[in-house]
Assembly symmetry: C2
Homo-oligomer: 415 residues x 2
């Protein structure tokens, strides 16, 4: 059962606003079991709206259109729908009364132009708008169910939940199941390599990849004769993917990397202290994005200057002079300083050159030193040369540092 | 001269991703003088990609397509482009070398699957990718210029600027000019009120608003018989907008709020120390996102626990016990502690309840205390009850704190 989404409005074709309605609708339709094959955006032109409606109706069983139901002269969707059907418009008095009541309730004068929001193609089904002025409506075009909704996101969503989903839920049978695995640590090409052959040997499965730097999401989509069967296949293949990618997989769906790291600490009753330089607070911001992170994060000292490294973390001035602030020695001293200051189980430190300036031949932009200090264990340091611009270097460095924390927590076990 | 944008990817038709590429491209094409009539999104299906390319090529002179150029099996755009042309693929050795060099530079192993990123439809024009692996390419289809670009936003944008805009700029006459003013501190409704009447008195001007929390961007779009004239009008109205919105306007186009705050400090030779609690490093991460921020940021102490507030910032334990960690007294002591610790000119502190837990009747979730300490001036504290979820509360709190820093720097003058 295929479906399509149509967004109407010159403000969209001009790129004046991002089309969040389309992605929201596409996701809802997908979850209902529809195969959404295309999303379209057309400007406020009756001819093009009509043409697009006919093209979509000839291909899909369900079409959800948004926008162009307002009171102004460039709101042409209702006229276009009527033309596509080859019928006229008729005024719907109950809707007009509802619009009048709404204005009265807001203590506002209803303008004449608002009356057109109560006009609909003859024979259309009205979809009352519980939270706004313009009702939506539904028509049957070439055997396709076409729903027209206002473009205001919260009004559109409410009408979808109140009227559209109940009307179409029975049309689609949910025969797919998708599991999204979130990974960090392997480049997309390597992920693809490690998973090669799965789709060939599992025709019911499609693997998708989405890079949202620095993470890569692997989507396992399984198709079967019913949802339960599809879910079983998806779970089995998701396990295969986990086996092949190892600990690069940190979670599913909406799990976050910071949440994963926090869980590794919380499960073992471990506390963390952070010392940041080039990441400038990013690591702390990531860790504390997780509710309850105060249970395990004791301290994050963003010591941007050498003076701060010395005053707050007790990093030896001589050490910095001799090795430079970007060195394994200083990273180690920062981690140990943070560990001692907060009396934590784990201390992690990052010092590097995020650029664009500050690079040298010996230490080019992207040079980053990491250190992990542990109560009762030797401090470990490592260096990497990270690619990309300042923001990417800082983001990647934050992930690498937190990955070191998670790995240390896992290998360390309970406090 | 009409144009269209095509976005390719099942992650888009399933609504897993908001299509920001399409709106960005639509805006750029519009600014170049093209009439963008439609935006389309299709899933990763060769047949539908081919069909859509042909349909768009028959109607528009310029088409920009994004997505599906990656190394994985669901990247099918190149094959579809070749089928639409009725030609085969050929390997482009210079591109393959470039990809190899890129992997070598990153010290990574190039996997076999990446080689397909150097395959293009026979006769296609290659569009080198200066910031990523996959090059784009351009073809001529039914007299339409069709550009294929990677879906990774920053790679796509770079190739548009390097290759696409130079190739198509001459096809359209540019008769508009847009200036984007970035603001923080006024709700969208207030911004709209303060700017009311401008469009009525300036028919050649359209004002657009884009909220990207917590900032609001005001777009001044001017139309005229030629670009120079349009630019003149846009500049004049932009000044009117600045006059009406006052210091809520912090910059234009790609200026960042953190960059603005940094400039206020740098211009006056002032240094900053930060003490964070609920924002957990966000303020530091924002400040240090600006290259050269080490000139003015001396320290950011993320003191999540009371112990850290005491140990690092010298906040009196009795004070915390008596007023609670979320109080004006503690915020003030944190700011003064950071100021003294780093011997900075300005010290800013934030302590609050970001939620979802931790709220009380007296101090509900969203309660945030701010303090600004200055060398040789009394410490100022203020409180706000911030709306939204944990992430919004933290983000808004970070902006409010930095706004206090910028305002203090301005009123303080040179060090």
């Amino acid at each position: 059962m295929t479906a399509a989404v149509l967004s109407i409005g010159t403000e969209l074709t001009r790129g004046e606003l991002v089309n969040t309605n389309a992605s929201w609708l596409a996701e809802r339709l997908t979850l209902l079991g529809f195969e959404v094959q295309e999303l379209r955006v057309v400007d406020d032109d009756v001819g093009r709206i009509v043409e697009t409606l006919r093209a979509l109706a000839s291909k899909h069983r369900v079409i959800v259109a948004t926008g162009g139901l307002g009171p102004t002269t460039d709101d042409l969707t209702t006229i276009a729908a009527a033309q596509a059907l080859g019928v006229g418009l008729e005024r719907h008095e109950p809707s007009l009364d509802a619009i009048r009541r709404r204005f009265a309730k807001l203590g506002r004068e209803m303008s004449k132009t608002n009356e057109k929001q109560a006009d609909f193609p003859i024979g259309a089904t009205i979809l009352p708008n519980a939270v706004g002025t313009a009702p939506g409506f539904a028509i049957e075009l070439d055997g396709a169910r076409v729903f027209f909704l206002p473009g205001v996101p919260f009004e559109m969503r409410r009408i979808v939940e109140d009227h559209v989903e109940p009307a179409i839920a029975s049309l689609a049978e949910r025969t797919t199941h998708q599991i999204r695995l979130r990974t960090f640590g392997l480049p997309e090409s390597v992920v693809g390599e490690k998973l090669s052959g799965i789709e060939e040997s599992e025709p019911a499965v499609t693997l998708g990849y989405r890079a949202s730097f620095p993470e890569i999401e692997v989507k396992v989509l399984a198709r079967a004769s019913n949802h339960a069967e599809a879910e079983g296949i998806a779970r089995r293949i998701a396990q295969t993917v986990r086996d092949r990618l190892g600990d690069a997989v940190f979670g599913e769906t909406d799990d976050t990397f910071a949440g994963y790291v926090g869980q590794m600490l919380r499960d073992r009753g471990l506390t963390l202290a952070i010392a940041e330089s080039c990441t400038g607070g990013m690591i702390g911001a990531m860790v504390t994005s997780v509710p309850g992170s105060s249970e395990y994060l004791l301290l994050d000292a963003v010591t941007y200057s050498n003076a701060a490294k010395h005053d707050l973390l007790g990093v030896d001035v001589e050490l910095m002079r001799h090795h430079g602030a970007v060195s394994g020695e200083v990273a180690g001293a920062m981690a140990e300083g943070a560990l001692a200051r907060a009396d934590a189980h784990l201390g992690v430190a990052v010092t590097g050159i995020a650029g664009p300036g500050g690079g040298t031949d010996a230490k080019p932009v992207g040079t980053v030193w990491f250190a992990l200090a542990q109560r009762g264990a030797p401090t470990v340091t490592r260096t990497m040369n990270l690619p990309g611009d300042r923001e990417r270097i800082r983001t990647l460095a934050s992930y690498v540092a937190l990955k070191m924390v998670a790995d240390a927590a896992i290998s360390r076990g309970r406090a």
